[in-house]
């Protein structure tokens, strides 16, 4: 289609959809109304099982099967990325050069790394109590590890990031969720049913099986994001076309001073 026709089709179709959405929005319930049928039931159901964070109760108890699907989407996305960004036959790896980092950046990143890691683990561990949980905390944990790339260089990151290990942990997190669900079938009433005591409201061990499912998602997300980023970073930093290599040489950072200046720790 020519650009002109395409624009017309897009405009007319978009106009139709816009009218439709506008008309629908007039029929929506008033903003800020006090009728929340699902919300009311969900809060009641969460408190009945001593889960302080109602969102966690929805994610890991009431609609835990949705979370299984979502976790699997991330698992699959990481796996798919590894496949799509793999090193192909006509590509080869170039060992990344050590890079010089400005001292203030380096100091900041090295201080921020353990703090970020701790916050990430905290957010995972307290998912049943306060906002956050396995998904959010897992991303924070994965981010913390990558501060090493900023603080030092890619080789340092690679040292603490054996991709195989994280891929295995990714799979273990996924499997743990599935097996906890099966345990609910064996020890409880149904797949993903609670089979643990509810515990004391407001403590780490409250909410029955919620903390365990939350933790397995935390493991899965943290390792999945590491694997995901590793695929992209490898592609950007290490993997090169044969042609590109011969043309420009192995140096990725031609403006940087020679490697000897900076010793990675």
């Amino acid at each position: 289609m020519s650009r002109r026709i395409r624009t017309w089709v897009l405009l007319l179709g978009g106009l139709g959809v816009a009218v439709l959405l506008f008309a629908a929005s007039l029929d929506l319930p008033e903003f800020g109304g006090d009728r929340h049928p699902y919300g009311a039931r969900a809060v009641e159901a969460a408190l009945a099982r001593h889960t302080a964070n109602v969102v966690a109760a929805v994610n890991f108890d009431q609609r835990a099967f949705d979370t299984l699907g979502e976790e699997s989407i991330l698992f699959c996305a990481a796996l798919g990325t590894v496949v799509l960004l793999r090193q192909t036959r006509d590509e080869h790896r170039v060992r990344p050069e050590p890079a010089r980092v400005d001292p203030p950046v380096r100091r900041y990143a090295l201080v921020a790394l353990p703090v970020t890691l701790l916050i990430g683990l905290y957010v995972v561990a307290h998912g049943q109590l306060s906002p956050g949980g396995g998904f959010q905390g897992g991303v924070v944990v994965a981010t913390a590890l990558h501060l090493l790339y900023i603080a030092v260089d890619y080789r340092a990151l690679e040292r603490i990031r054996p991709v195989g290990l994280y891929a295995t942990a990714d799979a273990a997190g996924e499997a743990a969720y599935l097996l906890l669900g099966a345990a609910g079938l064996v020890a409880g009433t149904a797949y993903l049913a609670n089979f643990l005591p509810y515990g004391t409201f407001g403590t780490l061990a409250s909410g029955g099986v919620v903390p365990l499912l939350n933790a397995s998602v935390g493991v899965e997300v943290a390792s999945g994001v590491v694997v995901l980023l590793a695929s992209f970073l490898d592609q950007a930093v290490e993997i090169e076309d044969a042609t590109e290599h011969t043309a420009s040489g192995p140096a990725r950072h031609p403006t940087l001073p020679p490697p000897s200046e900076e010793k990675p720790t």
Binding site: L10, I73, R89, L192
Partner: protein, 632 residues
């Protein structure tokens, strides 16, 4: 049934059919996790065997539910499982429900069996897997299986969206699996962009329905819509319900490849690895059709929803358009995988026309048609995969006469082409005959013509490739490299180098699949079961009653699909027509001749993602316009 006590201990001493439902989703996922964790240290053979075992175990679970759980004394018995034991109280709950009725569990079973066939087919397939990732391909296929089974079994709209996305994500990765080829990456990207847009529309629709009803389950939303039919005047939908229906349908129609939402399909199917095409065309696209029907019949078929007449108009229009465009494009392809892809589009159109009948007869016929089509289409793709790996080409012209050395593959293709045209006693013939009879009139003619054209296109290719009939392309002084045509020349084989000998598994799989499609047509017990399944599928009150534990209403069973004299005659007519078309094409048209009047339609399939996105918006406006008369 009373709501189970929240802590009835150790109830699962025996695995009831209902309790088995979540395992149909969990088993392949567990297999995928195992393959990712252990696949790095496994030889390829072990990883592939493990993948096949997990897929087969899932198939056994699905078949066991199908045979035990849904064949009770109650007509339309459904296995209903509330995950986490979160049963509703007084029609209101917070949990997710899986509903295993015959159609849903049947689709999960077919999907699983096809996955087993695909994994067996790919045993000798692909050059060496990526370094230390022997388990990756089977793991992805298992996740695909889990996504499709979950989508078929869920009774919850948001959960259906989650599995819709899972199916999507894994399908994009599988489509682009051969990253060395630019075309594969392009096809996967188009597929990803277009399907994601459809998914967002669906999610928006889910949000609107949730805003109105505060519910996410199919049955619960339907019950709320029926209880409060839009305030002022009862009956039809208001704009919110109409918009929600259009939005939810958009994602499903993109998946189903209904015109004008279909553009991604040929681009993706032409480049995806052949085993993946078998799954995409065999079941995934059909799940979009299933989702459309499921959402309509459980949510929107009652008061306050979309009246039957309007849904009929919508499905009939889209179906006819899809069938005609699919058949037209199918006939003009020389890239054999693209040809099969457009034949899937054409058949999707026929399925939609079958659903548009809005009766158990039409739905039962369509169900049989889908079932047999899965076997036939997967077998044909499997045969094309053999050609690709033997000759590095899927170009009908380039392969002229070269297929003579593979007579068995030629027989598979010929039989597949006849089955595609609806030759009795194949299941495709029965499904087509029953649906034709239910639809009647000009729609019966549409079924005959469209199936004959798609079958004829396959037979034409068989005549040229395997029999060497017609003018040789070089002799015809062919002008090379048309710009608006995908030839299928110079394809990379998907195995380690061109095959010198065809592995037994690659030949056995299509033969078994065709035998399955034949069995669908001749096993009477299956026909009765499909008849009952269709009754239950359209029984909104029964579905709601089973999910919400309210007393069911009595339903009147309709007779199951069966062969009739008229059906057999029309099936033979389609097959004969297909043969005549193929004969005419080989005799009277040179390989270079293209129908000029169809060029505008051909050019719409430009490969430009922007075009496809524009057509999605236009399609949404079209769907809304078709439904507009229903609004109060």
């Amino acid at each position: 049934m009373t709501p189970a006590g929240t802590l009835a201990p150790a109830a699962a001493t025996t695995l009831t059919p209902a309790a088995t439902l979540p395992l149909i989703v969990a088993t392949p996922l567990l297999g995928a996790a195992f393959l990712v964790a252990a696949g790095r240290r496994m030889p390829r053979r072990a990883a592939e065997t493990a993948g096949t075992v997990f897929a087969a175990a899932t198939a056994v679970l699905a078949l066991s539910v199908l045979l035990r759980g849904t064949s009770g004394d109650v007509p339309g018995a459904r296995a209903v499982e509330w995950l986490g034991g979160r049963h509703p109280h007084g029609g209101a709950g917070v949990g997710i429900v899986l509903v295993g009725d015959r159609i849903g569990v049947g689709l999960a079973a077919v999907t699983s069996l096809l996955v087993v066939a695909v994994l067996a087919y790919s045993w000798r397939y692909f050059d060496e897997p990526p370094h230390r990732q022997a388990g990756t391909f089977p793991a992805l296929v298992l996740i695909f299986q889990a996504g499709m089974c979950g989508f078929a079994l869920t009774g919850d709209l948001f959960n259906a969206f989650v599995f819709f996305e899972l199916m999507g994500v894994v399908a994009y990765a599988l489509t682009g699996y051969r990253v060395e080829e630019k075309r594969a990456v392009q096809g996967a990207l188009t597929f990803g962009v277009v399907n994601s847009l459809g998914g967002y529309a669906t999610l928006l629709g889910v949000g609107l329905l949730y805003g109105r009803t505060g519910e996410l389950g199919f049955a619960q939303i339907g019950a709320r819509l029926a209880a409060h039919p839009t305030g002022s005047s009862g009956g039809g939908p208001d704009f919110l319900v109409l918009t929600a229906f259009v939005l939810v349908l958009t994602g499903l129609l993109v998946k189903a490849a209904a015109v004008p939402f279909h553009f991604w399909l040929p681009d993706a199917h032409a480049v995806a690895p052949t085993p993946v095409c078998m799954l995409l065309s065999g079941v995934m696209v059909e799940l979009g059709v299933y989702g459309t029907a499921r959402v309509y019949w459980t949510i929107f078929a009652g008061p306050g929803g979309i009246p039957t007449a309007d849904a009929h108009r919508l499905l009939l229009t889209l179906g006819t358009l899809t069938a005609v465009v699919g058949a037209l494009m199918c006939w003009q392809q020389r890239h054999l995988k693209r040809l099969l892809a457009f034949s899937t589009v054409a058949h999707t159109g026929l399925f939609l026309v079958g659903l548009a009948v809005m009766t158990p007869e039409g739905t039962g016929g369509t169900a049989l048609y889908v079932l047999a089509h899965a076997g036939v289409k997967a077998a044909l793709f499997a045969a094309m995969g053999i050609l690709l790996d033997r000759f590095r080409s899927v170009d009908e012209h380039e392969l002229h006469g070269r297929g003579r050395e593979l007579p068995l593959v030629g027989v598979v293709c010929a039989v597949g082409g006849l089955a595609l045209a609806g030759l009795p006693p194949f299941g495709t013939g029965l499904g087509k005959a029953v649906t034709e009879e239910a639809a009647g009139g000009w729609q019966a003619a549409l079924f005959v013509v469209v199936s004959a054209v798609t079958g004829g296109a396959v037979l034409r290719a068989v005549a040229r490739v395997f029999l060497g009939l017609g003018v040789r392309p070089e002799a015809a002084g062919q002008a090379e490299a048309r710009t608006d045509e995908t030839s299928g020349k110079d394809e990379e084989p998907e195995t380690a180098g061109p095959l010198s000998r065809i592995p037994d598994t690659m030949l056995a799989v299509p033969v078994v699949l065709l035998a399955g499609a034949l069995a669908v047509g001749v096993v009477p017990g299956l026909h009765a079961a499909v008849g009952r399944a269709a009754d239950a599928f359209l029984d909104r009150a029964g579905y709601t009653a089973a999910v919400l534990h309210t007393p069911p209403a009595a339903s009147v069973p309709t007779p199951g699909p069966h062969w009739s004299a008229a059906g057999v005659a029309l099936g033979l007519l389609s097959a004969a027509l297909a043969c005549l078309l193929a004969r005419w094409a080989v005799r009277h048209t040179g390989p270079t001749r293209q129908t000029r009047w169809a060029a505008p339609v051909r050019r719409l399939h430009s490969g430009h993602i922007g075009d496809y996105v524009a057509f999605i918006l236009a399609g949404m406006a079209l769907v809304a316009a078709l439904l507009l008369p229903s609004v109060h």
